[in-house]
């Protein structure tokens, strides 16, 4: 058992009952929960929290969501979808019932609900992609809102939602992939060192990035870490964003061999570069990062049952584990190739069969002519 994983599991085991116990004493408010995910994405942690899918135009599907009133009061909730965008590395739901290209395709039903304390209700999120929908990836939020009261100077509304990342297009789902471009050593004005990685989305789907940093080959051969990145970053296709790890002030200036592991769902990439931490308030030069295998300690993804979710570095989009690229929706490429070869063989045999029959007929005709000809 790897030390970090063991720590995470113990922490999770200790934390889970703590949260359950506190839930009895402290209310959590309005709760939203995704109830189902596509079977083809069983190994993708993002699909367990968000509505993530790739469909051709003309596809309809629904996802079940549960909304719970975990307050002491009766509440009236508004249920609706709102436009979202990826802005400055953040998945941002726009104000109110903002619309974009995706929102007319999404319907939450019912559209409002009355809930007593501790009462839950099942809500359907229906997605109907029109046949003439353009290719691309679209973002929205499936929201549950507790509206503001009628009186007060600044009245407060609260809402909680489930992210929707919908890719539309015929054929295979765009590949999800990214690379760590560079690492930079910095030191904040308060003396805390920072390693900043620049991550580039080189795939066709949005990514939700979390990072982990290990330091080794430091002064006197010192090692440090792993350290978690301080914020979750969402990166749009072709986007570029920093993933930062904040460190302790006591850490020596280096140089260090910094190994940054970045994870999005079941996809993991690692890269390394030698960095040093400059004087407070200064930023070191960006150093090109070299891709390396994912370190064994990098296990930032924990499944819903507390177990680690498998996420091999070079096989991340391939839950079947056969090592090959996948056609859309998990269809292995070799089965389509085999079907194609068999179809070619079918045409080949039919053609030669037809030629042989034609030849037979000609031979027969010629024989008849020969038999009927005067000797």
């Amino acid at each position: 058992m790897r030390p970090l994983l063991l720590t995470a599991l113990i922490a999770g085991a200790l934390l889970a009952p703590a949260i359950d116990a506190s839930a009895q004493d402290e209310r959590t408010g309005i709760v939203i929960r995704l109830l189902e995910a596509p079977e083809a994405r069983r190994d993708d942690p993002r699909a367990r929290a968000y509505i993530v899918d790739h469909v051709p135009p003309g596809t309809s599907f629904t996802r079940a969501v549960e909304v719970t009133n975990d307050t002491d009061e009766h509440v009236s909730l508004q249920l609706y979808d709102a436009a979202a965008e990826i802005r400055d590395g953040r998945f941002t739901v726009l104000d109110g019932r903002a619309e974009n290209q995706l929102t007319p395709w999404v319907t939450m039903s019912p559209g409002s609900v009355e809930l007593d304390p501790d009462q839950s209700t099942r809500v359907s999120v229906a997605v109907d992609v029109p046949k003439n929908a353009p290719d691309g990836e679209f973002y929205a939020g499936a929201m549950a809102e507790r509206p503001a009261p009628d009186s007060g100077q600044v009245r407060i509304a609260t809402r909680v939602g489930i992210r929707i990342y919908l890719s539309v297009g015929t054929g295979a789902e765009p590949v999800s992939d990214f690379r760590v471009e560079s690492l930079t050593g910095e030191r904040r004005a308060d003396g805390r060192p920072v390693v900043r990685a620049v991550v580039v989305n080189i795939g066709g789907r949005a990514l939700d990035l979390v990072g982990e940093l290990g330091l080794r080959d430091g002064p006197g051969g010192a090692t440090a870490g792993p350290f978690a990145a301080d914020v979750a970053t969402t990166l749009a296709p072709r986007g570029r964003a920093p993933v930062s790890v904040l460190l302790e002030p006591a850490l020596p200036a280096g140089p260090w061999l910094a190994v940054m592991t970045v994870t999005s769902g079941s996809l993991q990439r690692a890269a390394q570069a030698t960095v040093s931490f400059p004087e407070p308030g200064q930023v070191g030069p960006p150093v090109a990062a070299q891709p390396v295998p994912v370190p064994e300690s990098a296990e930032p993804v924990i499944g819903p049952d507390g177990a680690p979710v498998p996420g091999p570095a070079d096989d991340a989009d391939d839950p079947g584990g056969d090592g090959g690229p996948k056609q859309a929706n998990g269809v292995p490429w070799w089965s389509l190739l085999l079907a194609l070869l068999l179809l070619v063989a079918l045409l080949f045999f039919l053609f030669f069969g037809w030629r042989r029959r034609k030849q037979d007929e000609e031979d027969e005709q010629q024989a008849k002519v020969s038999r009927g000809a005067p000797r």
Binding site: G12, T28, Q153, V154, T158, G161, D230, V231, D360
Partner: protein, 179 residues
């Protein structure tokens, strides 16, 4: 001639078998809509938000045009029991602030919602980062944790009443969102 016909019949049978296999393989390859609609049930756990207050009144030291009125938006709690490592983003936005005459307004761009890196309380596994947003909307807090987590924080709001604003009482709505 019969041998030739028998050979052709055998080949035809082989072709039909192969065609059946090919069609079967294509049948096995599921259509996109099918894989989208075959689902599994996700383990319990969700994302929650609560705000202990439903309304606040802003105060201004100078109570004059060209100055700001500000106040705490109360304790906002985010609880994430999804037991994943995806994190969450809390954002804030306001409407325009409307005068009691229902005509004059202070635009939402004049409002600023600020959250520092300090929380009222949080689980030890959570990394919490505060931010500032204008009333137009934007992130005010980001939380990242391995596994389930929670945080309670209290952002403040300030609204600038530009010079030339019609004096009086203005009201508006602040919406806190977590996703």
């Amino acid at each position: 001639m019969k041998r030739i016909r028998d050979g052709f019949t055998a080949r035809l049978a082989a072709v039909m078998v192969m065609a059946a296999v090919a069609l079967g393989l294509l049948q096995v390859a599921p259509a996109s809509a099918d894989t989208t609609n075959i689902t599994f049930t996700i383990a319990p756990g969700g994302l929650a938000i609560d705000n202990e207050q439903t309304a606040v009144t802003l105060t201004s030291a100078a109570n004059a045009l060209g100055t700001t009125a500000s106040g705490s938006l109360g304790n906002i709690s985010v609880t994430d029991t999804r037991n994943l490592s995806l994190g969450w983003i809390a954002s804030g936005s306001t409407t325009d602030f409307t005068h009691s005459n229902n005509t004059d307004k202070i635009l939402k761009a004049q409002a600023t919602v600020t959250q520092t890196n300090t929380t009222i309380e949080k689980t030890s596994n959570l990394t919490f980062t505060g931010a500032a947003a204008t009333g137009v909307g934007g992130p005010i807090a980001v939380g990242v944790a391995v596994g389930s987590s929670s945080a309670t924080f209290a952002p403040t709001i300030s609204v600038l009443a530009p010079t030339g604003t019609v004096t009086g009482t203005y009201t508006g709505v602040f919406t806190s969102t977590v996703i």
